[in-house]
Symmetry: C2
Subunit: 343 residues, 2 copies
DNA sequence: GACGTCGCTGAAAAGGTTTGCAGGCGTACT
DNA sequence: AGTACGCCTGCAAACCTTTTCAGCGACGTC
């Protein structure tokens, strides 16, 4: 009937089909394909040809059922819309080689019920481990219930110190930003940032304050300008800062979007950036930071690396029970044209 | 030893454990849990209590091995960085209820080799179907090899008309934009867009030209200004347009980023937006469109809906063989402050 | 030429769930 | 009270792969 020899109709080929076609037992076929045991070279070739011909792919379900390892990992995120999850997700994917481990992606949308559903489904699918990505850096409640597989929390740490958490050093990020501005000779530095309810905003502000204090300085207005994370707050706050403190010569912004707003207002007010006022953003969101005029210096949180580390830690924890740990990773500064030494 | 009764140590509970605890056979336990067969109410309760106590979750591997259905779907994307995949991905997740179907996410990064690896891994995991998301709207080569499960192509259609493809109506999007500008009384309309190598750019331009022709008009310069998709091209092109055709009273931009650049240049040149020149973008990328000054009217491609439809089509194709189809979905206009009736 | 050893192959079990089929017991009706 | 029917329960097979163990054949050596 069909051209191919013994190609099963509507069914994917099984090891039995391959063995039959190669004229060996399924045990020999398995060994030939996996390189296990001693199989004569000619036999192996025959089996591999048969497998190729039938486009045989070993059934990972059966394999997992037997070995107890599925080679799958669940990734639980809270905000796919947000731009934090994606780089982390890519880092995780990189950590496991392509095709070695497959990632189940679930978006809980910040809903605890939905999260529970997803966890249940993932455990039922016998994932080897879980990665939980938060949408903000505030500690989050650990997964409820007895989770029989390792869990790694990324970006948002678990509130339980017995868990494994990987986070960004936001305090250090704030310091980085200020130190760069100081190295540019700036002394009158303001800080415009997002909602004070966010740990990230407070941490960055604390880092900034600490770096300034180390240089014997205080930030303009003696406190950060907390507001929201978007451009309009950047525009509004920049107006306030310039009006109240015209001596300002640098503004550290809590997000690139805020920085965009700040840039726009400074431009409106006729203040030269970076000459008279340098501006630095946070997140290094390429679409926003790399296309402004002038292009924005920004703190990059290395989220992709964060995800890769999470993948590695999870991998280690799967292989052998690992001690709880809480790691914080520094960001790095990406210098563009919005900051420049005074002169 | 432990407080819980017979809770297995480092092993997840199996149906045998539940049955033993409830004092029934595994068959009865299975039927009680799945509501199959006739089981006495009291027995069922006893089994369910035992399952709850052991936090039993049926092994989806074993179930899938037997039934041939895994309740998993592979989602193959080419650009996670890009902002097209994510809304589509969310739509797909929505289409399958939470916990019903789990999604394997794979990013091929535009690499055919990597894509082949991922497909192989997914088929080996016995996914019930595949969704392929493109990064641009140009038709893409269909997946190579014999794929024994249904495949749905989203955003980028398959080059093979025998496949199932779900795409955006870019021509219609271009028309929408122009019709809105015409309804605002604009007559001297320019079109600044991305690379001519992109089908999306050409389609939107064609739609724009058609809508203008229907009104007896031609676009300013008699052709679109093709360039790149970013702000700097928007700035540069806007300079050219205004210089060469000062009579321009509206600009239709191929992306929100281009529109941002256009807005900035118009502002620099002292042209009032939306009064003297209206501007409309494309993509309705919230972070970009909703925070500019003025906020940007834009064409939204309804990507989330696109993903949801893809999920539904895949679901239907899994349940029963479906005829090939190629569907195109219209976008919608989101009106903000950058467009306004003349006068 | 015979025996031993090594190299190769195959039979069988395990992993957890679902389901068809058969059997057992209880109840109701005659 | 007996029989029949129906409700409920349990045994066993099947899904597909991996791995252990045993067996067979061939070759080499004595």
């Amino acid at each position: 009937m069909t051209t191919g020899p013994e190609v099963p109709a509507n069914r994917t080929a099984t090891l039995t089909d391959v063995a039959k076609l190669a004229g060996v037992s399924i045990a020999t076929a398995s060994k030939a394909i996996n390189g296990r045991g001693e199989v004569r070279a000619t036999t192996r070739v025959r089996v591999l040809e048969a497998a190729e011909l039938l486009s045989f792919a070993p059934n990972a379900l059966a394999r997992g059922l037997l070995s107890g390892r599925t080679g799958t990992v669940g990734l639980l995120t809270s905000d796919l819309e947000g731009r934090f999850s994606i780089p982390i997700l890519m880092g995780v994917e990189d950590a496991f080689g392509a095709g070695q481990v497959s990632v189940f992606l679930c978006d809980a949308r910040g809903d605890a019920i939905r999260e529970k559903h997803h966890v249940r489904a993932l455990l039922s699918r016998r994932v080897d481990g879980l990665i939980v990505v938060g949408s903000r850096t505030d500690p989050r409640p650990p997964l409820a219930g007895n989770i029989p597989v390792p869990v790694v929390y990324v970006y948002a740490p678990s509130a339980n110190p017995d868990d494994i958490s990987i986070t960004v050093d936001n305090v250090g990020g704030g310091q980085l930003a200020i130190e760069h501005l100081l190295s540019c000779g700036r002394r009158n530095i303001a800080h415009i940032t997002g909602e004070a309810g966010f740990q990230a905003a407070r941490d960055r502000a604390d880092g900034a304050a600490a770096a300034l204090a180390a240089a014997g300085l205080r930030m303009i207005g003696h406190r950060p300008y907390f507001g929201s994370w978007d451009e309009s707050w950047g525009r509004a706050a920049a107006h306030m800062v310039v009006e109240q403190h015209p001596e300002v010569d640098a503004i550290f912004c809590g997000s690139d979007q805020i920085a965009r707003g700040v840039l726009e207002t400074l431009r409106d007010l006729g203040r030269d950036v970076p000459g008279s006022t340098s501006v630095i953003g946070f997140d290094n969101w390429d679409a926003v930071a790399a296309h402004s005029r002038p292009r924005l210096t920004s703190i990059d949180m290395n989220l992709k690396r964060l995800g890769a580390v999470a993948g590695q830690r999870l991998f280690a924890a799967i292989d052998s029970a690992t001690a709880p740990s809480s790691e914080e990773f520094p960001g790095r500064i990406v210098i563009r044209e919005s900051t420049v030494p005074i002169g």
